[in-house]
Amino acid sequence: MSVTEMFSNIQVFLCADQDIREDIRKVVQTLEQTAREILTVLQSVHQPSGFKEIPSKCLRARELFCIIRDHIGDLKTKFPVEQYYRFHEHWRFVLQRVTFLAAFVVYLESESLVTREEVAQILGIEVDREKGFHLDVEDYLAGVLIMASELSRLAVNSVTAGDYSRPLRISNFINELDSGFRLLNLKNDPLRKRYDGLKYDVKKIEEVVYDLSIRGLTKEQEAVTDK
């Protein structure tokens, strides 16, 4: 085989690779679009008026997750399943975003941490690599950390909306999350950097709780709750 032929063969491979990537990029764009729509729905919980509508917003978000599932179903057809990591970078970012959205919905619904299994189910994907298109543990954790930052914002806005007990619950939740993360032996990777950001969320929420404590607003709430 001549040098020229050898390079021609490789060129064929490279072109095919590019085509796959092009296809993936397109599906990923539609995914991002839908993700942005879900975000818009959920953002409204930060509004004073939004606090009452949390359940209905969550329902609406759940509906939109059907579309996400369709897009991801489409994505799966674009490349051989065992080459997930060859193209991982293309959907990594959006997958973390939709994981965040799923985690946020679940938190709003039940004030609990979504499990990886639940996220996988919401997105219509797998937990184990062997079973098909799956959710990497790093991506799951990244999504959870994005939610943590959203919760620190929620703590602030709850106070504005006059709900003084939610920040305390968020504070407990975030502290538990922080303990969890401290168990992990993170390398100097993007996840580590994101986790460093968690410190600021913890601190911010601590300050909100502080503001409520010093004004006796936590007790007031407890009193209300006690009744």
């Binding site: 040098v3 020229t4 490789i10 490279l14 080459q83 990591y85 499990t115 538990e176 992990l184 032996n185």
Partner: protein
Amino acid sequence: SQKTEGHESDDISSCPLISAFKTFQLELDTKHDKYERLVKISRDITIESKRTIFLLHRVTSVPSTEELLTESEVKLDGVRQKIRQVAEELRGEDLYQFHRAFTLGIQEYVEAVSFQHFIKHRSLISLEEVNCRLVFLNGDKSEEKGIPSEKQGPQALTFQVTPTDYLLGVADLTGELMRMCISSVGNGDIDTPFQVGQFLRQIHDGFSYIGNTGPYEVSKKLHTLKQSLGKVEDACYTLRVRGSEMPKHMLADVFSSRAALLDPEDGVA
């Protein structure tokens, strides 16, 4: 680190979140450990491949290449055993998940094996030929370790070099060829430079045909490749221009006396 929880460990470890995170830790550590192992093997592959290249460069200064080629073959066999370890780590895994861990080593191996191939055959080793040497029969290994024959069988362990890693290895090969060409001129070898020149032009044309179709790393190498080619073309030019001053048979004569001058202990001339 589990012990650091102190006396609260009971409350905490009962918490589902914490136990979930403990499984995450396990998964992350497993992955991380495999990654680190691969990085280490890859580093070994790099070092040994570099040493092989280094050894092969002596081809410009020794009288017989046979011995050198044999020695390099032994070294490359060692490297291939390392690549077998990579293949074993990757058994059942998605190769691309850990690709970053070993890509540099594999590129360096391609560089070394294609350098050896060029010295032997004055041609470019193909990706298929590279991969052929990376088929490992189960037999070899299980015998060594005395593993029961359960997993033995016709199916062999293989490692597939990606086209991109192959390209990147070949791109680096051109730098070594340039060095060899310069050294050859420096040692009075008048054929090698022209062969290298011809060969390098082909590779250069191949790369410029691919252009920016491939990944960024490949197009990035094009500039260095151009520079290497320029240096080799200059060397060929110089040889031709200087050679023009005397008939070719005289030239050979000059170089044989020259060699005698360099190795007086040979005592022939």
